[in-house]
Symmetry: C2
Subunit: 103 residues, 2 copies
């Protein structure tokens, strides 16, 4: 879980996840979207793989990466725990408005 949070802390890696959300991509395909070198991309992919956020399979001489969104579940649950803090306020606001409308 710690690995997950550290993995998504980097904007390039979040972009990778965004790209993979559209479907499987090879390393070369992914690389087109970045300014850094291919080894740098491979490093990012390794971090994502170690965090369980992407999968990889070999297809002839290419390597296809895919999204493994379930890896983000812990993040989703963690943040949902906080979501109530702003939805509660909206509920409270709604209650106030209702009360005022009732008068």
């Amino acid at each position: 879980m710690d690995a997950t949070f550290r993995a998504i802390a980097d904007p390039s890696r979040r972009t990778i996840l965004d790209l993979l959300a559209e479907g499987e991509r090879s390393v070369t395909q992914l690389l087109e979207h970045f300014d850094f070198s291919q080894p740098a991309l491979s490093k990012h992919l390794r971090v994502l793989r170690d965090a369980g956020l992407v999968t990889a399979r070999s297809a002839s001489r290419r390597r296809l990466y895919g999204l493994r969104a379930e890896g983000l579940r812990s993040v989703a649950e963690w943040v949902r725990h906080y979501e109530q803090f702003w939805t509660e306020r909206l509920d409270a606001l709604g209650a106030v408005l209702d009360a005022e409308a009732g008068q």
Copy 2:
């Protein structure tokens, strides 16, 4: 937004947010939950403040920190975009089970 993701990448800082979710706390109160020094805590608090995740107000000679959960909104929205990937699968599974039950 980038600052937000980097801020929550650290487990100590996530713990701080968890503590503040229960209410305002002074630096000394927060410090009881950690093994590191007071300056280290002040540094973490600065990162969280810069990311807009906590608020601080002076109360006599103490400084009370509070949660500012709205700062996590961008994270919540980002991860919700991925949430569909596992809920969709559950929906699909549900459809299969429904179909089998119908036979």
